[in-house]
């Protein structure tokens, strides 16, 4: 069975094999370029994020998919939901802006809080950090799709499952002609 799986690959000539590898590369790069294109269009370094915690319930639940934009000309306002990075944490946080100070020269500093949390986020920020600034912002939530992100959450919780699925897809694409 496994033998016959690779039969077709073995029979390929040099050019057919190169094309097979390239078409796999094109699937990967198409996904990559769509992502990079979205980055350019939205201005956010991560235009789509998945909500990982219940700290924003009932607005967002675990597994919701958020669509972000980060246009520099749009000011941050109190009440908006921002996604921000904190030094020393890999995963960005999705929370609401609670307080905001804006200076005449346009610089802002603001404080955030999860709707479902009882205290503000100062405990989550880096040691000694009291405010967030524009450079911490990944984007602002513009739209969401409920529960779709559960797939990615499961994938990340069971990395073996993720690698199995991705591996099978990769082998299928590499082995099958057309």
């Amino acid at each position: 069975m496994l033998d016959s799986l690779f039969d077709e690959v073995k029979r390929m000539n040099k050019r057919q094999f190169i094309y097979q590898v390239l078409s796999f590369g094109m699937i990967v790069s198409s996904a990559l370029m769509i992502w990079k294109g979205l980055m350019v269009v939205t201005g956010s370094e991560s235009p789509i994020v998945v909500v990982l915690s219940g700290s924003m319930e009932p607005a967002f639940h675990r597994g919701d998919l958020l669509f972000l934009t980060n246009y520099p000309e749009e000011p941050v306002r109190v009440g908006e939901i921002v996604v921000f990075k904190v030094e020393g944490r890999d995963i960005p946080i999705v929370h609401r802006v609670l307080k905001l100070h804006e200076k005449n020269n346009g610089t802002v500093k603001f404080l955030t809080k999860g709707d479902n949390n009882s205290v503000d986020d100062r405990g989550l920020y880096a040691q000694g950090q009291l405010w967030l600034t524009k450079k911490d912002v990944v984007g602002r939530a513009r739209g969401f799709l409920p529960y779709v992100g559960m797939v990615t959450i499961y994938m990340n919780e069971y990395p073996k499952f993720k690698f199995a699925v991705l591996g099978c897809l990769a082998i299928y694409v590499l082995v099958h002609r057309e």
Binding site: D7, R15, Y19, L22, G25, S29, L32, M33, K36, V40
Partner: protein, 184 residues
């Protein structure tokens, strides 16, 4: 029959696999038995476009890694637009230039050069193999022949390609296209 040809066994119910195997057999007949020389320009063109697209995507990935996003914006815009343009060109190339051609072979008869192009297609869930062979010679003559036959004419019950049957079929087409006096 080419000595080096080994027995090719495939899953005969898999239309794409059967088509590919028959394509390969026809290529072998044209290049080995009929002593034509395969030329790779058409395939190489496609490979070049694919490599270009994947290369551009790789560049974008690397650039974005070394100069994180807001800095890399201009380069990303260029790479992304170039990538999608080259994908469009690739689609045009495969539909209008390549059109399912799986082998192009040249031969010299007297002082005339002949180019043979073979293309094939199979409809989904169909057993009919459609083959089109086009011959162009250096005098500007173009002749074309096509056949539509069931896979069963080339593959036996076990899923083995019968090289003999392929050879006979191609030889017949080859001879009729070579000898045809009148231009059609």
């Amino acid at each position: 029959m080419g000595e080096k040809s080994e027995v090719v066994k495939i899953n005969k119910w898999d239309g794409a696999a059967a088509k590919n195997a028959i394509d390969d057999a026809i290529r072998e007949v044209l290049t080995d038995d009929l002593k034509c020389k395969e030329t790779y320009a058409v395939i190489d063109g496609r490979l070049f476009l694919c490599t270009l697209a994947v290369g551009v995507a790789g560049c974008a990935l690397l650039w974005d890694y070394f100069y994180p996003f807001p800095q890399s914006r201009e380069v990303l815009i260029i790479c992304v637009s170039f990538y999608f343009i080259s994908m469009g060109v690739l689609t045009l190339y495969t539909t209008f230039k390549e059109r399912g051609i799986f082998v192009v072979a040249k031969e010299k008869v007297g002082n005339i050069y002949r180019t043979w192009e073979a293309s094939s297609y199979v409809k989904k869930h169909d057993d009919k193999y459609n083959l089109v062979i086009v011959m162009r010679d250096s005098n500007g003559k173009v002749r074309e022949a096509n056949i539509t036959k069931s896979f069963a004419n080339f593959i036996d019950t076990n899923g083995t390609i019968v090289q003999n049957l392929v050879f006979n079929e191609i030889n017949k087409l080859y001879n009729s296209l070579s000898s045809e006096k009148k231009e059609k």
